[in-house]
Amino acid sequence: MLLEREGLLESLGERLRDANEGKGSLVLVAGEAGAGKTSLVRAFVESLDEEILVIQGACDPLSTPRPLSPLRDFAADPNAGLSGLTEEDKPAIEIFGDVLDRLRNTIRPILLVVEDIHWADEGTLDFLRFIGRRIHDSKAVMLCTYRDDEVGPDHPMRPVLGQLIPLESTHRVVVPPLSLAAVTKLVSDHAFDPRELLRLTDGNAFFVTEILASGEGLPHTVQEAVLSRVARLDENPRRVVEGVSVAPRSLEIEHAAVVVGGSLEDIDAALSAGVLISDGHGLRFRHELARSAVEESLPPARRLSLNMRMLAILEEEHNPDLARLAHHAVQAGRSDLIVDYAPQAGDEAVRRGSRREAVAFYRAALDHADELGPDRTAELRVKLGVELRILDEPGAAETELRRAVDHYRQSGQVESLAVALGQLQGALWNLRRFDEGWLAMNEAINELRPRGPSEALGTTLYRMAHNHMLARHGQLAFTHIEEARRVADEIDSDEVDWLVLMMTGCIHIVLGDADQGIRLLQESVERAKTLDNPYFLAIGLGMLGSGGGEARRYEAGIPALERGVEQGLATDADYSVAYNRSWLARIAFEQGRWDDAVTFADLVDRTTLQREGIAYITAMSALGRVRVRRGDPGGLPLLEEMTELARDHELQHGWNAICGRAEYHWLAGDPETGLDELAPAYQRALDTDSEWARGEIGFWMWRSGAIETPPDGAAEPFALQMAGDWKGAADRWSEIGCPYETALALADGPENAKLEALAIFDSLGARPMGDRLRKVLRDLGVDGVPRGPTKKTLANPSGLTNRQLEVLRLIVDGLDNTEIARELYVSKKTVEHHISAIYSKLGVDSRTKAVNAALEVGAVER
């Protein structure tokens, strides 16, 4: 009997009707354990027409969950049309894509049920996020149940809920406790006081029905209620119940007889007493609460022998389930079996993208190091260290990796030592302990070099080059990558070849040969596509985007960053999305597209969880610099905060914030204060081979009066201006496409150049420089200085951003989207994006109407 759930059922039905019209949704059903979530779902499923296809899956209460457990359930359902979904070695993202395709290309509406997602492994959480973000345009409803009282602030599901719940296509419902009226109705012919029952159970539906079924006096706990009901069974059916209790989720009927030695009649007796239910293929408890109550009540010896029998059965299976084997091995305390199954289950979890579960399996095996032996222990520690690094626990990773390194040193296993040292260096880099990282790399290289070319040597040399590149030590990086190239020529490795190609491109940019660097990085992107390696593709695009950005080669950088964002969104690589957007913010700032810079920075701010990460620093530094140049409040504190966050990083991450502070203090007439941070940064810049670091930091040193001539190797436009060639600098800046810098250079020229600069500052909304220049011009006695910026340049009447105006002008000029994309060095998709924003701001729905509206309000001139 399902009471007080009519409203919920009706809402669920409504969601399915919407789905039938192409408006899919995610429905989260929350409630405490025993609130009746599963009963609600079951009643809903039973009420549905034949026309609706129901596909069901669930997460397991195993001590370490099976990776992608619900997806395996989908694959096993012959009606679902998803057979082969979870085949061995299929990458998670492809599996998710297959399910999405299924949901999008269906004629019948689909109800996809995932139960108990509070137990989901990490891979399943990725799945929920992937589908949850995309389900809105499918003919499907994904219905997930979870225990909301078990999802605390540190629960791995919390960030996933945080991302999904605000979406318009997500609906969350809570299954409320039963009311007094409902309890009274249920009690009806029992001799209980409904008020007393409600007080004891807090209206928990499972608890209420369990007590009513036990038929005795009021017990104190739900466990007591469950156990008293089991105790009333005869011995043989009771043994069946106990046997099923060691199998989380369910026990296959054909196994039940073997495990518990019971007959089919005993199974029937347990079923008819209502303690167990059968779901078609297996026996299970009506509720997980009941299962764990029975399991915990088993005497230790009985529990052990039941788990041993489960192991024996599972081992016989054709394609044994590693996570289940590992679970029962741990429950049975058999270390010989744990060290066999847990590492395999860990490897499988890695393949499925369930890193937290992999860590748990590896740790379970490492608890039995004696049984593993020293070599396998070290091997597992390296694997564990790799996963811990990815999970952002570098300190724990360091501990594991150092122990592996010690073992390989003592046993003289050089290749393995080099691999472990390479990972250790990565962990130390995450911990910002660069010097110790270099020690690790030097040790690896000294061991590997005498043994001749190998993949380990090539990778280690690449790694050293990469670290020098990050510190902008271009020459040192070049020496190492050249040696790596010679190694790569001797061995046959696509990976090492690619890494060398990509890194050589980065190094050329650092060394000032941007043309060659960009060409090589573009080649690396193409080759990553040929190799069909999404990880390489993401790195290549990020390097081309940020390298092109740093060298102010926007025509190469922007399209790479936009593609990086698109690729990241398609694969839910959130970090990659944030990193590429942060560089789009920085470039928009440099190009004087400040509204766009703010938009990108806001996007990073709202979506990034790592508030100390590099993407966050880059984005917030751009926002801070926009505020400084506009004369808006809040710029300096933000830049000070970013300077602190970037303090232990390489110079590249802090230099924008530091230059922005110097600019602020210079504008405020107090350049001395800016030098506190600027002068040490300048020393660090001189220690690099980066012309743009030397150029920009040198420029603000010069502006602040701390140096008189440009440093060697400063980027051309900065060097020209510092040398007094304001005209040459302005021309270069204008070619590059940096209007604010162009105006800064013009402001150093004679009267007419200053007036030109003022017009640019006014059009950008750069009030502090505008005010400053006005005063200079008035002091010079120049006539006809505009009193202030005109309203039109401050906020154009249509509310369009500068970029949107640019697009609109090209539309008025008659260009099509492809031509506009080419003209602005952006993708066609981005142009379409801008155009739809323009339409909505102008309130039109066609190109012609947009042109007319734009001309009418004076947003553009023909």
Partner: protein, 117 residues
């Protein structure tokens, strides 16, 4: 119930964000109207004012009050808002100029009365 539940979550998360960032900062927004600002006390004037309020809502900024010079060429507007950028976006939507934004706090002369005795 669906809608209410969804909203309470969104509002809940917003409350959290505000608590974390303390209170909304307060800003003084200076606007210049070289030809003078005229808001007629007619239905058109009322519509214009409501439009401003509506636009502010989309950016979560609140117009607290304004002072206008006698010649109507300049206004000083007190706003609460999440950031100076939100103030600028709201101004753009309402077609209002922004000449300067300053973050401000209250200085009350009577706070000092009696402080020296």
């Amino acid at each position: 119930m669906w809608v209410a539940d969804h909203l309470s979550y969104v509002l809940g998360s917003r409350r959290y964000r505000q608590e974390r960032r303390d209170e909304m900062p307060r800003y003084m927004v200076e606007r210049e109207f070289p030809k003078g600002l005229e808001i007629p006390t007619t239905p058109q004037g009322q519509k214009a004012m409501l439009g401003v309020v509506q636009n502010n809502l989309t950016e979560q900024v609140t117009w607290v009050q304004s002072f206008v010079t006698d010649d109507h060429t300049k206004t000083f507007c007190v706003y609460d808002g999440p950031s100076p950028e939100a103030i600028r976006r709201a101004a753009g939507l309402s077609d209002l100029p922004v000449n300067r934004i300053s973050e401000i706090s209250i200085l009350d002369p009577y706070f000092y009365v009696g402080a020296g005795t």
